[in-house]
Symmetry: D2
Subunit: 336 residues, 4 copies
């Protein structure tokens, strides 16, 4: 076991979301990187993106008007599936993030007027784009090269970073995801109740799912991957956060080669944890977000969709337009 492995297992006990606990970066004993070779997953020069050097929208550009019209045509029954989980006290939260929702006053105000109007508000505090069901935007993940933190399209954090919201790559640039959605139920393919933490889903397995469903992936699609890991949500939060099955780099490349716009899953980071290579930290995030501009949607509830064998559907998600935010909460919807 080398230093990276140690870091990795520390991570496993503490993290339950699509990122690494901050305390990891603070471990005593100096710079963990100093002891290892750096290995770029995405190349030294991963930009400009195929959408142009100034693009801030990434793979959401693939959702064309034709794609939207075609997605609407998939709605034949009028049935909606809410894929977002409840945001609630006690849900799995990684590291030092927090969730707080309170109602001031009960009622917050009133009564006013002869009609005795009263009202309630709610106060929220927390890492809004990185709690529960969450959408990772292009300002979320980057790579440090020679002391510079590089993000999608080579943007330097030292230039677009701002304590009160990113000046570029904010989630408000993503726009609306109204497109074809495809469910790849790897859990059922494997006949598992749920895949084990660390299970690395391969391209072959994705293909097998497609074949079973008699579907192909098309440009601009949203691909949702069911691992079964979501069954642990609010049932065994410790196990939920301690690791997860998910795709590896090969499957990520398989999906971005097919030009998907977004990859979602019923786990907290899309990719397998522990990772297939223990010297890397969330390489799929870098591949998808930093290099390819393909978005992530984590902590989805895919159980009903799978139970109803809905493998192709109209997918709708409209991120909050939080200016300069790195992610968004949401309640994505599949409609058939």
């Amino acid at each position: 076991m080398n230093a990276s492995t140690i870091r990795c297992s520390k991570f496993l006990s503490a993290v339950i979301c699509g990122a690494i606990v901050a305390s990891m970066s603070l471990s005593a004993g100096g710079d963990p990187v100093a002891r290892t070779e750096t290995t770029s997953v995405i190349g030294e020069r991963f930009w400009p993106s195929e959408f142009g050097p100034d693009d801030q929208r990434g793979a959401a550009n693939r959702i064309t008007p034709e794609k939207i019209v075609a997605a609407a045509r998939l709605i034949t029954e009028g049935r909606t599936y809410q894929l977002g989980r409840l945001y609630e006290h006690g849900m799995p939260i990684p590291g030092k993030r927090h969730f707080s929702l309170t109602i001031p006053g009960l009622p917050t105000g009133g009564p006013l007027g002869a009609n005795q109007s009263v009202w309630n508000d709610e106060l929220f505090s927390g890492e809004i784009g990185q709690l529960g069901t969450q959408f990772d935007g292009l300002g979320h993940i980057g790579m440090r090269v020679d002391g510079e933190d590089l993000f999608y399209n080579g943007n330097k954090l030292s230039e677009f970073g701002d304590s009160y919201g990113l000046k570029k790559l904010g989630v408000e640039n993503a726009g609306v995801f109204f497109t074809r959605g495809v469910l790849l139920d790897v859990c059922s393919l494997r006949g598992a109740d749920r895949l084990e933490a660390g299970y690395v889903i391969s391209p072959d397995e994705l293909e097998a799912c497609l074949k079973q469903a008699k579907l192909t992936i098309q440009e601009g699609d949203v691909v949702l991957i069911r691992t079964g890991h979501g069954k642990l949500w609010m049932q065994d939060n410790e196990a939920f956060g301690a690791g997860e099955p998910g795709i590896g780099l090969a499957a990520a490349k398989y999906l971005t080669d097919r030009k998907v716009s977004l990859i979602g899953a019923d786990n907290w980071a899309i990719e397998a944890v522990p990772h297939e290579r223990d010297d890397l930290s969330f390489p799929v995030h870098q591949w998808d977000l930093t290099k390819s501009g393909a978005y992530h949607l984590e902590n989805l509830d895919l159980e009903e969709l799978a139970a109803h064998k809905v493998y192709e559907f109209c997918f709708v998600f409209s991120p909050l337009r939080l200016k300069g935010a790195t992610g968004s909460p949401g309640n994505p919807v599949a409609i058939r």
Copy 2:
């Protein structure tokens, strides 16, 4: 000028959202209600709702599978209109509410691993469902009767209230709004740049808009009303908050009689402020939310939709599933 009028004008200078500033309820000089007759806008006994005595979903129940399929059929061009405004520092915020978005660390964490992964989070603090573009849920507005705060379906706040989220009527019950949307551009009908604050939109004006657009309102529709007031957003925030044009009680009844599911507008409270009757406080809120279970969407951006003369469209909004919250932020979408 009586006591109610005084309260109302104090309100106008201080409020810029779909509710009354809390400080209003704290005015020195004792109970303002004691000096006036109470007048129920919605009757003494406004429940059970037509959706059953235990219903917590209200007019969203009107969105049937058939309605969803029909709405999807309205999508012929594949063009999306984002109706949600940016959530940003400096946007109009009423009373003592606040908005804060920060990025801890820049980057928040990393670099980790040989691939030097770094990441950013964002921290949000604020009245999340009552800031900017906002959806009012059924736990937002009620009426005090004999010391009891009554909400939709007669629910008593003393029973379902909870400091950490409502036990009933939370916004997570609303479900998804995927339905037909209709834009009623009263501002253009009147040939105005924007209607003046206090302008009360009548049922006749709604009908005239429909007639011009050759449309009728159907059960389960979302109706969006353009007043032009939204032009003040981030241009003259003080004027934006000091009052607004909007519907009055007659128009509200006109819409609920036609069984709409949701009413949206480009102002902060749907209804005219100052109100048509100065002894009442937000009577349309009570009529729509408390009695009828019809939802509100406030602070919409309807300019592009109007400019393109898009009067009928597929409307999509999926509220955040914030357990026990009274409202939700969002980026509603019109698609044609």
Copy 3:
């Protein structure tokens, strides 16, 4: 085991601070009070206070100029003991409260000017007066009588409550505690490493401590009680929160009879949990705060003071002037 007992043990597993988890009040099965007799610990008519019917300062009034001068005279060595614990991630936090501290940006701003000035801020979110070392003010604890929540001096919450800060009894009224302090080391008296949870400290034990230290309690004193429970802080947070040794009603009366201004301890609620009478909920809080106007300081670190056998000292604590707050954080100091 009756209904109260059940509630009590549920409480024990969930609470780790000087108050009851909110979820307790929300237990299914209806009003817990309906099944039990009400018993007022403090009488039906516990006001006006001895400091006058309009007083909002309570026992802090006992700290006279003479008292201050006398306290200063206790400083002969110039040694300070910080009694406040660190506010930090991972500290014991009860129920649904939270603590978040982040540094936006790193640096938050700059560089500016030819001198390249940079700066950091910190963002805090949490129940500021009810986390870690905490001072309970007179707006913190009350008693419900006939549907009315009564606080110190008979103030009705329906009249002085406000969603954005109490209109009366706010912590800003307390003023500065610069007075004589006395340490009663019951833990050492009993020869214990730490007293067990539920251990009820008696008046006799307080007297025995005084006798050993050759001291008496004087009007306006601050009395700090060491139980040893504080040794669990950040060592075994679960045990720390699951219960605690502390004073019972008899010892509370003993102290208020001697006209103390404030009672502090190295536990989270001053009083024993489980309580000596299992049908009561935090009766000492009501006795001290609601009836007597005597303040509480919880989660103190008394270890160094005890190790140095400092039983009499100058005590200094200056609550934050948070307008309308129910409590305050702080770093109280003993000086000899």
Copy 4:
């Protein structure tokens, strides 16, 4: 007028606290520094501090036991002066910082038990150490040199920075300020109602104040400077924040030469704004905090102290032990 001047006047309209608005650092038009020579106010090599290369406490080290005992001897009347302002909605807040205080529930919990116990908490959100009366710690201000942000004792932010609290120089290292305090009433010396914004207080004026009061500054003292600017607090918040009178670099050096532990004032940044040299940004902050380890206390209320002509007193301030924070709120006290 050069580029620096332009920046400076932009600052004046936006800032009302002891730091620069973050938006300043984000001005369009590229790096403002590129157009100007850098000028170190504190030298290229300003460390190690006189308290040793590992010291994190700075000038608070000057408060010796003898100093504490002597300060206690200044208490002869037993009168306290609270120097902290109320933290309240509507107070001056700079830039994008915020203040929120709410009471969840009213009551937050209960009633519980036969004694019908109810309780209130308060929820706070905001830049806790940089709002209202505030203490600047050694992690607050630094200088960028060759891309590295250097703080007290040469500590590099890239090494001690952490998104969840600084790993070094946190305010918890400061300890307790119980020492001699001296009031220098420059406002009265000048016969002014209040000094104008931009007025630069000179060493001669400090000496004249001392001479009038027949006092000298001694090592470890806290020096409080009254400018009269505090009269604008909550009276004319815009004018309060638009600039301020205060000390310049010469007076700062005069004070640190005399080895003070802390400098306080009734303004928001201790130093004059606009600065005496318009190419510099908060040079006194760098001189005091970054180089000298001398602390700042801003937004004090010195009116009563001045009215009573209390020029020498026992000063007490105990910062909150917020682990890794850059500052602290508080209610400092002068006692005579």
